[in-house]
């Protein structure tokens, strides 16, 4: 009997030293993740997430409600100008930056001049620039130079760079990245949702992004804007809707794969699907052919046999809200965006030929890389391209809408207003970009809603820094807030916002 203890003791003794810790490394290897990866998988993620983020329920009913496309309402108190920190938007952008910067900080590091990495790095950088631009456009000064340096070089208290310095850096970077795009280099192929690795199109896209960077700062730094815009105008830009940077969407899939506006419909609250009065009125009063594909006639008007479109006011007081019967108002169209059976599925736009055309029209008005006479042509191309976009697919401009395409007899300011208004409609569903461009151009002019909120009844000009950032990076946050004319509030204006 004694014998049976020997093996037990022996096993124990052997096991407990060296031998048994031998499999520790294997045991402790994470079972569902890897330590390095094909950069394409990361690029795909960032391209898709960045695009889909701006068209879902929350940004639509906050930013989209501020610019009076969506009605917002009591459920989204920020739509009624009640200030709150925008943690979600802030964190989502830095998450995009974490992922996209891994490509340059780790995955393809060291391959900057190698054909196997050069162009891939440039494409990743271009995508990164567009994320940085949107982040600073929404908030103003943000941590930029001291962050996204890789996991070994993390600054846990990065300073907030001024928007002016960020823009200068982004313009330098876009030039560098464009120079690195090389058609013979390895590219991302199908992982690249925008262009499937087509470098010619990437060059046009990068240059269009440069145009946008330049135009955005035209009222803050005219000289740099003019230089940047003029340079961009001299190089190929997006030339037609076929050049649009888009992400495909899939209807019969999870809500993560559907168009963001369809996601808004499927996953969101029934009370947050209504359009704003100013937007619907604009479409109705100008006989806009997109109207039935953007808006839905109100339930009660249909019941009464007289289908009609009507939007709800924004930032309404409690007293007014009580008088609202939702069935009297229009939601977004259940034939198109709010329709799972709409076929083919609507691509999610990142940047369109129409965007570019409106910038070109504006540049032409200034004589930056084009003549003033060309402005109308560019503008018309922009409106036509906008009408032709899915799901509107309007190929010919109806006669009743033609006046909207004409610059005849207008002052320069009126022309800008017309560009701004058409841009506002074209950007429906891209709530970040629509809010950004509305602030920059100041058009269309919108009347704030009657509820005073925290802004004393003015439309917000920026969104508020994350409370988590304020808590964990307090000193730098305070410094940045102090630089804002009215502190970290909705009413402070970012550097380029001069209108």
């Amino acid at each position: 009997m004694k014998n049976i203890f020997k093996p037990i003791l022996l096993t124990a003794a052997v096991c407990l030293f060296q031998a048994c810790t031998g499999d520790f490394e294997e045991i402790n290897t994470p079972p569902t993740s890897v330590t390095t990866i094909d950069p394409g998988l990361v690029l795909s993620k960032v391209q898709k997430d960045a695009a889909f983020a701006e068209g879902v329920e929350y940004p639509n009913n906050q930013f989209g409600s501020w610019i009076q496309q969506w009605a917002g309402g009591v459920l989204i108190s920020s739509s009624r100008y009640v200030e709150q920190s925008d943690n979600g938007t802030w964190e989502a952008h830095y998450t995009l930056l974490r992922n996209i910067s891994q490509i340059r900080n780790q995955i393809l590091k060291g391959l900057e001049t190698d054909p196997s990495g050069r162009t891939k790095l440039a494409i990743a950088k271009i995508v990164e620039i567009s994320v940085w631009q949107r982040l600073t456009d929404l908030f103003g000064d943000v941590p930029y130079s001291q962050t996204a340096l890789g996991q070994d070089d993390v600054n846990t208290k990065p300073v907030f760079d001024t928007q002016e310095s960020i823009y200068k850096s982004l313009i330098t970077d876009i030039n560098t990245a464009m120079a690195q795009l090389n058609a013979t280099d390895a590219s991302y192929g199908n992982a690249d949702f925008y262009y499937k690795g087509d470098i010619t199109k990437w060059k046009k896209y990068a240059n269009s992004l440069k145009l946008r960077l330049g135009m955005r700062i035209r009222y803050a730094d005219a000289a740099l804007a003019q230089k940047t815009v003029t340079e961009a105008m001299a190089q190929p830009l997006l030339e037609s809707n076929a050049d649009n940077a888009t992400i495909p969407t899939y209807n019969n899939a999870t809500n993560a794969n559907v168009h963001p506006l369809l996601n808004h419909f499927l996953a969101g609250s029934p009370d947050l699907k209504y359009l704003a009065d100013a937007f619907v009125t604009q479409l109705v009063s100008t006989n806009d052919p997109r109207l039935p594909r953007i808006a839905q006639p109100s339930v009660n008007s249909v019941k009464a046999g007289t289908p009609a479109y009507k939007g709800i006011g924004v930032a309404l007081t409690d007293a007014i809200l009580k008088t609202i019967i939702k069935d009297d108002y229009s939601t977004a169209s259940t034939a198109t965006f709010f329709n799972r059976d709409f076929s083919p599925a609507i691509p999610c736009i990142v940047m369109s030929f129409s965007d570019v055309s409106f910038y070109k029209a504006e540049a032409a008005l200034e004589g930056w890389g084009a003549t003033e006479a060309q402005a109308e042509v560019f503008y018309q191309a922009g409106v036509k391209a906008a009408l032709a976009q899915a799901p509107y697919n309007v190929a010919t401009v109806p006669a009743t809408f033609e006046t909207q395409l004409s610059f005849t007899g207008l002052t320069k300011e009126q022309k800008l207003e017309k560009i701004g208004t058409q841009k506002w409609i074209q950007l429906f569903g891209r709530s970040y970009e629509a809010f950004i461009e509305w602030r920059r151009m100041g058009y269309p002019s919108l009347k704030p809603g009657p509820f005073a909120g925290s802004t004393n009844g003015t439309i917000p000009r920026r969104t508020i820094y994350s409370s988590r950032e304020a808590l964990l990076n307090q000193d730098n946050y305070k410094e940045a807030s102090a630089r804002l004319s009215k502190g970290d509030t909705y009413v402070s204006k970012v550097w380029w916002d001069k209108r």
Binding site: K2, I4, F5, I8, L9, A12, A13, L16, C20, T21, D23, F24, I27, N28, P30, V34, T35, L41, V42, K45, G73, V74, S77, V82, N87, W90, Y94, T95, L97, R98, N99, S101, V142, P143, T147, Q151, V154, T156, P158, I247, P248, N252, A253, T254, N255, A256, L266, P270, D271, K273, K322, T323, I325, D327, T331, R468, E469, L471, L472, N473
Partner: protein, 1053 residues
């Protein structure tokens, strides 16, 4: 009789190995049925030396008990299952016996500890039958994890985790490990409080250890059969204090109007236009339509949101109409027997719970077989197999989630009849006459009272959704020991805790909350296995008459494995088929965790003349979760016990026993697996065939080290008046350093957190236990009382460099955090704050008459979630065969933030919102005057302006996201009459002619009533939605605590 020949009254007489017992009467006489000649009678009496007598052929046994001049010999189970005389221990161990556990049956064994032990805090989850419980001994030690003790059953650690526990926004509690154990199988529970007692359990002992010893068979003739049945029934003890005066609407009126022309108008338009017809309610989502700020319910006719014409009357009993009485039926049968060489015990327990939530059932079968055999004169084999099969159905969803019925009822308008909701699917007529639902509803879809993304119809949930779970568990142990000679023994032991947990859930097509209202399904299986193998060499040489010595050398190998696989699918294609292939989109569930720890340890004791004892132990762990450079760590412990009364021979009639003790110990912990490297992981869903990947949001640290808790403890134990009264006092101080923390980073760093060793948490406190027998009189009546008190002070000394706050839990309007310099569990409001003058009075706007609040949301401290002190007071009275005992459970101090109150105030459903609805509400505070710069100062003059209650509460809680958090804060103090049991054992005389050897019947009540409670509408000790740090200080539409009454019958053959 005693040594002077005087009769002793109330001496306990017990047939050894059974629960059959009696006590001597006034003449010192007794009568008891022994099994056979080999039976042993055990005579015991406080203050006297226990005596055992073999019955043999005697029919009358008269004995003399000697007064225990030495001390009371009290044997307790300590680390490694070693039984020790309590006097020799230099640290605190407290034990409760099986009877204290099994007389008033708690479905979760952990709950039986509530109020019974100093320093042990038990928090029930508010999650219905079979839910988890949180036990914290001597305060929270760790920022991450749950700070719960390790459960060791017959020497084998048990996995107490609860995979996929619920969170702040829903989930289902499928029960923790300890809830699987059958209380009837438990012989005793020994609580090792903190590292000083538990150092030998290594890293998992740093939060203390609860040692559970299960029953084993005894040598006897024939088979001993015991049968017990226990039935209890429970109902809600605490419910929200609903108002039943005002119904759905706003401003004291209805929101809408159905004109005689068939058109729907707003109330205002109908009034202005003098429209004929009747009032109508709307199903809109916001508080303007769905709250109970409407008209007085006076039976007036109205049309509801679905077009039903009803009379507007109060619907007071929403909870009572929907929920049911909870019943619990437990049957236990055990067989035991044995001889000199082998004994066995086989038990079967069956638990059947019909839950409070309709459709919720829990069935559990426990089979336990324990056999101890002497294979040779030197070798002993101990084998145990414990099988647990548990099936749950329709466990309730908890916390802030739509399909938690309690969540619906707290906000549902007080005028909606339950009979209307009971028809839970949309009809064509509903669709035609509805108001407020827009284009959403379709025929046959779930009908909710509002178009809310977070309201469900509880009747739909009951009838059209299903969840079930099936846990099959085996706790097994084999121990072989060999006694080489009278001082060397070798024990080898291996044990396993292995279980599969299968969970299935579906929600039919039409369920409002499911993806695109097309239903969903999920099925997953978790397979967990924890193996522990030990060898232990025990040496107990006789050195000299005065010096005793013992040494244990041991080694342990532990391996943990958990693998979860499953599928989730959404959007059913064909109705009525609940299979994953019938879904439009589906995705996988996968998780794998593996870890291993190897250890060597030694422990020893040196005793001098039975009054001075020194214990020491040391352990080294090798953990797989750390890198090779850091995976080996060592921690020692030493303790001493000095029995002053013996050493100095200072016993008197007053002081019977006095002991001083002290100890110092360390315990380490190596954290979870997979913390060392940064990684890319793939998204669940590819996008049109293109896979998506992202980089970890946590910056890993390849050089992580173990956490280390250092603890000191000193104590006094004394007994007085010939051992009639006892006192035990402990002071302890524990500091946990180098915690493995995910330190939060600002989002702009692009990372969410950095994993490092940082931080220090200190706990120090006192524990006091007093016990005694105040009455023990000639008639055989005894009164025993135990009072325990403990007070723990927690301090977060530091977090990581540069980190000021560590968020433990967060919910709407509130964060619960750890902040350096303060106690763990600081509650921070995240909302608006009242403006106050320098005296703390609220400032009232002179024009509106309403209190002023901050312009935007801010963070401000509200209080702390931890109690000041906890205690228990247990009394038991015995008279002949009758035992009556009662337990008071006390907790004082601490705060709870109530999400339910927030809902109730927003929607005006509780009595608190009644005063001043007619416009006579006067907000407390001082009138403010506005300064030029827009700020306010107080005038010192009390506000007298009258406002509508609705307007006042609209400032407090205009909607869910914008509240004054301090208004939702509740004092968690309570005094609860936790348990009352009355048991009667039939006298042996009466049953001597029956086949029964013993019959005991009892009645009991549990959670009887509060002597003190300060929370509004919920039970303070049963409000959390899970058992981890993340629900500390948060209540979120808790299911009510149940008050149970039960009866039990136990017979022995």
């Amino acid at each position: 009789m005693d040594s002077r020949g005087e009769a002793l009254i109330g001496v306990s007489v017990l047939v050894k190995g059974t629960t059959r017992g009696t006590a001597t009467d006034v003449e010192g006489k007794y009568e008891i049925a022994a099994d056979d000649e080999k039976s042993t009678l055990v005579f015991s009496f406080v203050g006297y030396v226990r005596k055992e007598v073999i019955v043999g052929n005697q029919s009358e046994i008269n004995i003399t008990l000697l007064e225990d001049t030495q001390n009371l010999s009290e044997v307790v189970v300590t680390a490694l299952g070693i039984k020790r005389d309590k006097r020799a221990l230099g640290y605190s161990v407290q034990e409760i016996g099986g009877e204290a556990i099994s007389t008033a049956k708690e479905p979760n064994l952990a709950n039986s500890l509530a109020g019974k032990m100093a320093g042990v805090q038990v928090t029930r989850s508010a999650n219905g039958a079979g839910g988890s419980s949180r036990v914290v001994i001597r305060g929270t030690n760790s920022l991450v994890g749950n700070s719960q003790p390790l459960y060791v059953i017959d020497g084998i650690p048990m996995d107490n985790s609860n995979p996929n526990a619920p969170g702040a926004s829903g989930g289902i509690d499928y029960g923790d490990g300890i809830s699987n154990i059958n209380p009837e199988d438990v012989e005793s529970m020994s609580v090792l409080k903190g590292p000083n007692a538990a150092a030998l359990y290594g890293q998992r002992g740093s939060n203390g250890v609860i040692l559970i010893t299960t029953k084993s068979g005894k040598s006897r003739k024939g088979i001993g059969i015991k049968y017990g049945v226990d039935y209890s029934s429970g109902n809600a003890l605490v419910l929200p204090d609903f108002q039943d005066e005002y119904g759905q609407g706003l401003d004291g009126v209805f929101t809408n109007f159905r004109g005689a022309d068939g058109k729907i108008y707003t109330w205002a338009a109908a009034q202005a236009g003098n429209i004929q017809g009747m009032p109508k309610t709307s199903g809109g989502r916001d508080r303007f339509t769905r709250s109970s700020w409407g008209a007085k319910m006076e039976g007036q006719q109205y049309e509801d949101q679905w077009g039903n014409v009803l009379s507007f009357t109060p619907q007071p009993n929403t909870f009572q109409q929907f929920f049911k009485k909870e019943t619990q039926l437990i049957n236990n049968l055990s067989l035991e027997g044995g001889n000199d060489n082998i004994n066995y015990r086989l038990s079967y327990g069956n638990t059947n719970i019909d839950g409070y939530t309709p459709g919720n059932t829990l069935k559990r079968n426990n089979v336990n077989l324990r056999t101890v055999a002497k294979l040779t004169s030197k070798m002993e084999l101990d084998v145990k197999a414990n099988y647990i099969g548990q099936k749950g159905e329709n466990r309730p969803t908890v916390s802030d989630a739509s399909d938690n019925p309690a969540y619906i009822f707290i906000s549902q308008p007080r005028s909606i009849p339950m009979s209307i909701l009971a028809n839970s699917a949309w009809t064509a007529d509903d669709l035609a006459k509805q108001l407020g639902y827009g284009t959403v509803p379709t025929l046959g879809m779930e009908k909710t009272y509002a178009t809310n993304s977070s309201t469900a119809n509880p009747y739909w949930t009951r009838d059209h959704t299903l969840n079930s779970d099936d846990r099959q568990r085996l706790l097994g142990m084999i121990r072989l020991s060999y006694q080489f000679n009278d001082w060397i023994r070798l024990t080898a032991k291996t044990g396993t805790d292995i279980y599969t947990d299968q969970r299935f859930r579906y929600r039919e097509k039409g369920t409002y909350q499911s993806a695109n209202r097309n239903g969903d399904i999920s099925e997953q299986v978790t397979r967990v296995r924890e193996d522990n193998s030990d060898v232990l060499l025990s040496l107990t040489p006789q050195l000299s008459k005065d010096i005793s010595f013992a040494l244990n050398l041991g080694a342990n190998h532990q391996r943990f494995y958990s693998r979860t696989t499953g599928n989730t699918g959404s959007e059913f294609i064909v109705p009525g088929l609940y299979a994953i292939n019938n879904t439009l989109t589906n995705s996988y569930v996968f998780g794998l965790t593996e870890s291993s720890i190897n250890s060597v340890y030694l422990s020893g004791q040196v005793g001098y003349k039975e009054f001075l004892f020194l214990d020491f132990s040391a352990r080294n762990d090798w953990s797989s979760t750390l890198s090779p450079a850091n995976n080996s760590f060592f921690y020692p412990a030493v303790s001493a016990s000095f029995v002053i009364s013996d050493a100095l021979n200072i016993q008197s009639d007053v002081l019977s026993f006095l002991k001083l003790r002290g100890s110092v110990a360390q315990a380490g912990s190596s954290g979870s697996p997979y913390q060392l490297t940064g990684n890319y992981s793939l998204d669940q869903n590819a996008h049109g065939g293109v896979p998506l990947a992202s980089f970890t949001s946590t910056i890993p640290d390849p050089n992580l080290k173990n956490e280390l808790t250092t603890s000191i403890e000193v104590g006094v134990e004394a007994r007085f008046f010939k051992n009639r009264a006892g006192l035990a006092f402990s002071y302890y101080h524990a500091a946990t350093k180098n915690q493995i923390l995910d330190v939060p980073l600002p989002p702009s760093s692009t990372f969410a957190s950095r994993r490092i060793n940082a931080g220090e948490i200190q706990n120090h406190g006192v524990e006091l236990t007093l016990n005694g027998s105040p009455v023990k009189n000639a008639s055989g009546f005894t009164w025993d009382a135990t009072l325990n008190f403990s007070r723990n002070r927690n301090k977060v000394v530091s977090l990581a460099p540069g980190v000021d706050t560590y968020v433990l839990g967060t919910d709407r309007g509130v964060n619960v955090v750890a902040v350096p310099g303060k106690a763990f569990g600081t509650i921070i409001g995240n909302g608006f704050q009242w403006l106050r003058d320098e005296n703390g009075n609220r400032l009232i706007d002179p024009t509106t008459g309403l209190p002023l609040k901050s312009n935007a949301k801010i963070l401000y401290e509200l209080g702390n979630a931890l109690p000041n002190w906890i205690g228990g007071f247990n009394n038991s009275f015995r008279y002949k065969g009758i035992t009556l005992s009662g337990l008071l459970d006390v907790s004082q101090g601490g705060k709870i933030y109530s999400q339910s109150m927030r809902e109730e105030l927003v929607y005006g459903t509780i009595k608190k919102t009644l005063p001043g609805r007619d416009g006579t509400y006067v907000a407390e505070g001082v009138v403010a005057s506005k300064n030029v710069d827009g700020s306010y100062t107080g005038t010192g003059q009390a506000n007298t302006k009258q406002v509508r209650a609705q307007d006042y509460w609209n400032v407090v809680a205009p909607d869910k996201d914008n509240v004054i958090p301090e208004e939702m804060l509740n004092d968690a103090s309570y005094v609860m009459f936790r348990e009352l049991t009355l048991n009667y054992s039939l006298p042996a005389k009466l049953i001597s002619r029956t086949p029964f050897k013993a019959i005991r019947a009892g009645i009991y009540g549990r959670n009887l009533f509060y002597l003190q409670r300060k929370t509004e509408g919920f039970a303070p000790e049963a409000s959390s939605f899970n058992v981890s740090n993340s629900s500390l200080g948060l209540e979120s539409t808790a299911l009510p605590l149940m008050r149970y009454f039960g009866v039990s019958l136990n017979v022995e053959l």
